[in-house]
């Protein structure tokens, strides 16, 4: 295996592992979501770069680019939908600024 692609694979896997550790260690839902949504996405980008270097065929590279674009689009949308849906139902240690509740009350 190529050294450069191996380093990309290990770096991406390490980011995914850091996301998992963050989802265990952080105290409340939004912090866990912060760790679990962003770190594996960066890990996927790095691993896709490593696999594209390693495999090298045009079909694999174009499919990996498509996978990365879809993950970069869908991960924030999914995290936003989940955090907005669960905001009233779980205890979240927010600051004293809660703009979304204020906007809904003023309607």
């Amino acid at each position: 295996m190529n050294t450069l692609s191996g380093l990309f694979l290990i770096a991406g896997s390490a980011f995914a592992m850091i996301g998992g550790i963050g989802s265990v260690r952080f105290p409340d839902l939004l912090s866990r979501m912060h760790a679990a949504a962003k770190a594996p996405t960066l890990g996927l980008v790095l691993v896709a770069i490593g696999a594209a270097i390693e495999i090298g065929t045009t079909l694999a590279i174009t499919t990996l680019i498509l996978v990365v674009i879809l993950q970069l689009l869908s991960s924030p949308v999914g995290a936003h939908a989940l955090s907005r849906a669960s905001r009233r139902q779980v205890v979240i240690s927010l600051d004293d600024v809660d703009d979304l509740s204020r906007d809904e009350e003023s309607d």
Binding site: S13, T57, S74, A85
Partner: protein
């Protein structure tokens, strides 16, 4: 080197599995499920890179898994929002 990457992914998958099984609330379990699917996607890409040009259609499998994971997360979020307890 891909073996070391798979060991790291195994540790991350164990952490997300803990969050999926332990909870404590339903959104926490959804976070664990979403992260576990991300780990699986990354592991399939690492295995495809390990197999090199003989990996067949493993990358196409990843494309389907990303889309199914997105639809599943959004559907569970709508369910949590509508449940309203």
């Amino acid at each position: 080197m891909s073996a070391a990457a798979l060991v790291l992914l195994f540790v991350g998958a164990g952490c997300f599995m803990y969050r999926l099984l332990r909870g404590p609330s339903l959104p926490d379990r959804v976070v664990g499920l979403d992260g576990l699917l991300s780990i699986i996607v990354i592991a399939i890409i690492v295995l495809a890179a390990r197999l090199g040009s003989g990996s067949g259609s493993a990358i196409e499998t990843v494309l389907v898994a990303v889309l199914v994971g997105f639809v599943g997360t959004v559907a569970l979020a709508r369910f949590i929002e509508r449940r309203g307890d």
